[in-house]
């Protein structure tokens, strides 16, 4: 078993608190993503788990053992670094073999294992080259190979796709999922990119200022974000926020809507922030169930190929919505458009605390 229990990690660098109170669990064989903006403490967390960072407080338990003060060597973990951190003075073969050298295996066994891993990652043709001569994608594959060659019980990944171009990032996402499925090891993946976290993670922990503020499946986090921060971290394009005050209990009015709509959890007179996913806004159609209709003006269009992100303005509120490309092609900037959403899709948050009050009338 190789479950990971991270408890109350705290790390201070002088007066700067990098980790406040980091607590989360990763189950055996799970693919867990840590999602947070840069300098929110992702890297420090991974380094602390690996033993590369001294902790001010807190404990790390791995495979049933407290490893908080154990040496880096021999924890049974591997890490893929953001910079790949390949050994530049060695060949690919030597890079891949290095983790095995201290295990006392025969050179035949090492050679076999290196070649198997190279084959798995399709870098066999580079084995005798220096790592500095490889392309970005090849370097990434070698870095993965070096991390998995010893069959670690836990693989730590620190923004491994940040230094790659978009196409390669896409391919590598699939590659990581494949590796997870084939090797079945526990993986902890840190990323600032919500797309990576949502597509790869079985569960995602959202980090803010050195602590985990929400843990859940990608679906949970997207559909029922616990607070404003999680709501805006998860989902692309980002969620729209509308500021208003509850006109009555469980009811709000928006200036561009003719009448009040349901907002469960909101008390009369309470300032609230409403969250509305761009995908929940549609073109108004007769007979559609989406009851909140309004007119808006198109501000900006961003064609993404298959879909187009459209910024619309209704009075002083601006919102993003997503339309299929062939539908969006009929509209131009400056044109009026009639759109609609279902009030049940609204996420209601307390404006002051950011905490979730409820979701839509149907929830």
């Amino acid at each position: 078993m190789s479950e990971l229990r991270v408890r109350n990690l705290r790390r201070e660098f002088g007066s700067v608190v990098a980790l406040q109170d980091m607590t989360f669990d990763v189950a055996d064989g799970e693919y867990f993503c840590l999602l947070g903006p840069s300098s929110s403490g992702k890297t420090t967390t991974l380094r602390a788990i690996a033993g590369l960072e001294e902790l001010t407080n807190g404990s790390v338990e791995f495979a049933g053992q407290d490893v908080t003060n154990a040496p880096v060597q021999g924890r049974g973990m591997s890490m893929i670094f953001q910079t790949f951190a390949l050994y530049p003075h060695m060949t690919v073969r030597a890079n891949l073999a290095h983790p095995l050298l201290r295990d006392g295996q025969s050179s035949q066994a090492v050679k076999k294992r290196v070649e198997d891993v190279a084959e798995l990652l399709r870098v066999t043709h580079t084995l005798d080259r220096k790592t500095t001569t490889l392309s970005g994608g090849e370097q990434q594959r070698v870095a993965i190979g070096r991390a998995i060659v010893r069959q670690p019980k836990l693989l730590l990944l620190d923004e491994p796709l940040t230094n790659l171009d978009a196409k390669l990032r896409h391919d590598m996402r699939a590659e990581f999922k494949r590796l997870h499925r084939e090797l079945g090891m526990t993986m902890l993946y840190a990323t600032p990119d919500q797309l990576e976290a949502l597509t790869m993670g079985q569960r995602v922990g959202v980090i803010q200022d050195g602590k985990v503020v929400a843990v859940g499946t990608p679906r949970d986090l997207y559909q029922m974000p616990e607070d404003l921060y999680v709501a805006q971290m998860v989902g692309s394009p980002p969620i729209n926020f509308l500021q208003t005050t509850a006109s009555a209990d469980n009811e709000v009015s928006l200036p561009f809507l003719p009448g009040p709509i349901g907002a469960p959890g909101a008390g009369s007179g309470q300032p609230v922030t409403l969250g509305l996913r761009p995908h929940d806004i549609e073109l108004a159609q007769d007979g559609s169930p989406r009851s909140a209709r309004f007119k808006a003006k198109i501000h900006l269009t961003e064609p993404l190929g298959d879909v187009t992100v459209i910024d619309v303005a209704a009075q002083d509120a601006t919102m993003k919505m997503v339309l299929r490309e062939e539908v969006a092609a009929q509209y131009t900037v400056g044109q009026d458009i009639e759109v609609a959403f279902d009030p049940a899709d609204l996420h209601v948050f307390d404006k002051n605390t950011g905490a979730r009050l409820g979701k839509g009338a149907n929830q």
């Binding site: 380094r47 690996a50 590369l52 880096v72 060597q73 021999g74 924890r75 973990m77 591997s78 890490m79 670094f81 953001q82 910079t83 951190a85 390949l86 050994y87 530049p88 003075h89 290095h98 983790p99 050298l101 201290r102 295990d103 500095t132 070096r146 010893r150």
Partner: protein
């Protein structure tokens, strides 16, 4: 018309010619010394200077063997010993300074102390004073400790003087390294000792070579300390060279040039040997890897 961008790898004739001229100006003194080493005394002093002459090896012979004016017999000079002294003293002290400096630089770079920069600054202060200023206290220290005139004394002094330079230079090379590589090695099971010897040192070999060559050139040519702190047995070539000047027959330029020419050979040799490393070393960190 807009000025066209010049293609890389295609220097024009003008640039090449200009560089050749500047290069020749730099090399001219060396060229002239080497030329003089092959001239007879008359040719060496000829006005206007002679570019074409019949070369002779007499000067090189008389570096090591001198004919006695009275008896006419040939006698070995001490120059071979002085060459050995120069090589031994410079070699040992620069190597020692590089070893100590590299270890210190690693510590300064990876395990910074409270007030790290202050210590680095203090180390460098010895290099801020002109040698002539520090020579008196050092001379007294050497007299009192009995180090004056010994190999140990001069080696110790040169080592001490080379360490600041080594620490500063090598630290900058360590600072340039990606610390994640060291962390990766640790996670792969490498001990701290192995991380240092197998992962850090191989990455800065070029920088170490550059540091070695610069230190060697400085030490090899050092004159003032050697003049005052070496004895008859431990004299280095620069001091011996100075002593050939003057005397009853005036300056023997041919002989002097021959000593200088021989004196240049070891440095030329080491520099050529490490040339590729040296170029990489001095440009370390300035070029994107």
């Amino acid at each position: 018309m807009a000025r066209r961008h010049r293609e890389i790898g295609k220097a024009g004739w003008g640039y090449t010619a200009m560089t050749t001229v500047v290069g020749f100006i730099y090399f001219f003194p060396v060229f002239w010394i080497i030329l003089t080493a092959f001239k007879t005394r008359t040719d060496a002093l000829a006005v206007p200077p002679k570019l074409f002459f019949t070369p002779t090896f007499d000067n090189f012979v008389s570096v090591f063997f001198r004919k006695s004016i009275t008896t006419g017999t040939s006698q070995a000079t001490d120059m071979a010993l002085y060459f050995f002294n120069s090589i031994f003293i410079a070699g040992v002290s620069v190597t020692a300074a590089l070893i100590v400096g590299t270890l210190a630089a690693y510590a300064f770079s990876r395990y910074p102390l409270r007030g790290n920069d202050t210590y680095l600054f203090i180390i460098l202060t010895t290099r801020m004073l002109p040698p002539i200023v520090v020579i008196i206290p050092i001379f007294l220290m050497f007299r009192l400790s009995g180090l004056a005139g010994s190999y140990w004394g001069i080696i110790l002094l040169y080592t001490a003087f080379n360490i600041p330079f080594s620490v500063w230079l090598v630290k900058s090379f360590f600072d340039e390294l990606n610390p994640e590589i060291e962390d990766a090695a640790r996670m792969d099971g490498a001990t701290e000792r192995r991380v240092f010897f197998r992962f850090c040192i191989p990455q800065i070999l070029a920088g170490l070579s550059a540091t070695f060559v610069f230190g060697l050139i400085l030490t090899w040519n050092e004159f003032l300390f050697a003049l005052l702190l070496t004895g008859v047995e431990t004299r280095t070539v620069p001091v011996a060279m100075a002593r050939t000047m003057g005397g009853e027959v005036g300056v023997d330029y041919g002989l002097l040039a021959a000593i200088v020419t021989l004196f240049l050979i070891p440095i030329f040799f080491v520099t050529f040997l490490l040339q590729n490393q040296l170029l990489r070393g001095v440009t370390f960190g300035t070029v994107k890897k």
